[in-house]
């Protein structure tokens, strides 16, 4: 209770400093929030492309229905495979006629269907790596009646390179801005400790426990982080609402998942607490000597 009272008193004593530090922490976290928003949407787009990724095996013409059925059952049993779709020769032709209208003359004159039947394999989430895709294509190609298996190996690798790069950038930027927020909170708490230096010195002299002195500052750090986190969330939300309306090229954006926002604000509070602990331990702890 005293810690809460003292922390509030700290905010009352130096309201401008506290507001500035919340604002500064908020701004550094806004950049993190905006980047999270972009990363989430880019990740979503990449995920969509990944979901649509297929391994296609083209069948020879003389394959019987029993062979098709057995192969399909075997392929469906593979742990990486989510679904197997069989497209017969006739279905392939139908689709070609429907999709490739500009060649309707060519398809109309056909006496023999030149298109092969095919298996279309979709992979489960977590298995959509270049290695698994290539391995599944190999399994498919191993059937004697499969003439060719394709999976667009070049763009699969590009897609994964893009995802890895996005993750690395997110990590670097996230870490960088989190560090900025930590430094700001460390400085704020340090200033608060220095501002109350006289009181702290007297507390140490008369025998106050370390925790008793430190708790209000820890609380102040956590509250600063939490308030900065909320501010960042608010500004990110504002950007989310305003941005698509201003830029026609951006059709729609997905808002951050709820667990991300909760973890973001809670993480900011935790960051504030840790930063304050670092600062206050350095400033207050030295009067108690070595551990």
């Amino acid at each position: 209770m005293r810690a809460v009272r003292e922390a509030l008193a700290g905010f009352r004593r130096t309201p401008l400093l506290c507001a500035l530090s919340i604002g500064a922490v908020g701004l550094s976290l806004v950049i993190l929030g905006l980047f999270g928003l972009v990363a989430h949407n880019v990740g979503g787009a990449i995920g969509d492309v990944e979901r649509r990724m297929e391994v296609v095996g083209y069948l020879l013409d003389d394959v019987g229905p029993e062979q098709v059925r057995d192969a399909r059952r075997e392929l469906e049993a593979l742990p990486a495979v989510e679904s197997v779709r069989y497209v017969s020769k006739n279905e392939a032709l139908e689709r070609a006629r429907r999709d490739l209208v500009e060649f309707s003359d060519v398809f109309g004159e056909l006496r023999v269907n030149p298109l092969p039947a095919s298996f279309h394999l979709r992979l489960r989430e977590g298995f959509r790596t270049p290695e698994t895709v290539s391995e599944t294509a190999g399994t498919l190609a191993a059937y004697p009646f499969i003439e060719e298996a394709r999976f667009g190996d070049e763009w699969v690798e590009r897609l994964f390179a893009l995802r890895s790069a996005a993750a690395a950038i997110a990590l670097a930027l996230g870490g960088g801005f989190a560090l900025v927020a930590v430094l700001l909170i460390v400085t704020t708490v340090r200033m608060a400790v220095l501002a109350r230096g006289e009181e702290i010195e007297i507390m140490q002299i008369v025998g106050a426990r370390e925790g008793y002195i430190q708790r209000p500052f820890l609380l102040e750090g956590a509250v600063t982080g939490f308030a900065g986190g909320l501010l960042a969330l608010g500004v990110t939300r504002l950007a989310y609402v305003v941005f698509p309306a201003r830029f026609a090229a951006v059709e729609s954006l997905a808002w951050l998942p709820h667990p991300w926002t909760v973890a973001g604000v809670a993480g900011a509070a935790l960051l504030g607490l840790l930063a304050a602990a670092f600062s206050v331990h350095r400033e207050v702890g030295r009067a108690y000597g070595p551990s």
């Binding site: 006289e198 009181e199 010195e201 007297i202 507390m203 140490q204 002299i205 008369v206 025998g207 106050a208 426990r209 370390e210 008793y212 009067a287 108690y288 000597g289 070595p290 551990s291």
Partner: protein
Amino acid sequence: MISLRDVSKAYPRAGDALRGVSFRLRKGEFAFLTGPSGAGKSTVLELIHFQTRPTEGEVQVSRYNSRRVRRRDIPALRRRVGFVFQDFKLLERLTAAENVAFALEVIGTPRREIAGRVQRLLSQVGLAARASSRPSELSGGERQRVAVARALATEPRILLADEPTGNLDPDAAGGVFELFRMLNHLGTAVLMATHDADFVRRHREIRRLELQGGRLVGDSAA
């Protein structure tokens, strides 16, 4: 009660502050710690208060030993050892009573007991009538009495005073000294650092520990 055994203290930049200092202060004893500025008086007091640790040797205060003391035991030790400073170290925004209450609150005294104890402590130092005055409204002697009342809030067995009369006129200094004598008669051991040779000479009956250049060069009890 207090024992320094072959204590040396060196600071990284300032060098040796104390060299091979040994003495004992028994329960209820009163002693002056004398010597010119820079002789190491404050360092001795800081070592006894465990604000710093010896570079060599050991300091024993009651059951606390500088070699073995744990960080979490320091507050308990400091509650047994009151400390009074030359510059009083009072909080200017608080009244005399609030300054004393602050110390009581910090050590976890129940709220309902604080007011009564503050009144008793201020009466003990003869300042009950100035309880609601701020330090800026008090004389130097009165301020030092408030500081003594605050130091007594934890009911210490030992009182350390670092040049407590250094900022006071002779009358006020005499008054504060008499307060220390009274507390000593009530059983509190007192170690008072002073560089005022005349003041010490006037009280020959009190043990004198003399420091010079970080060494103990004289002990009137030896």
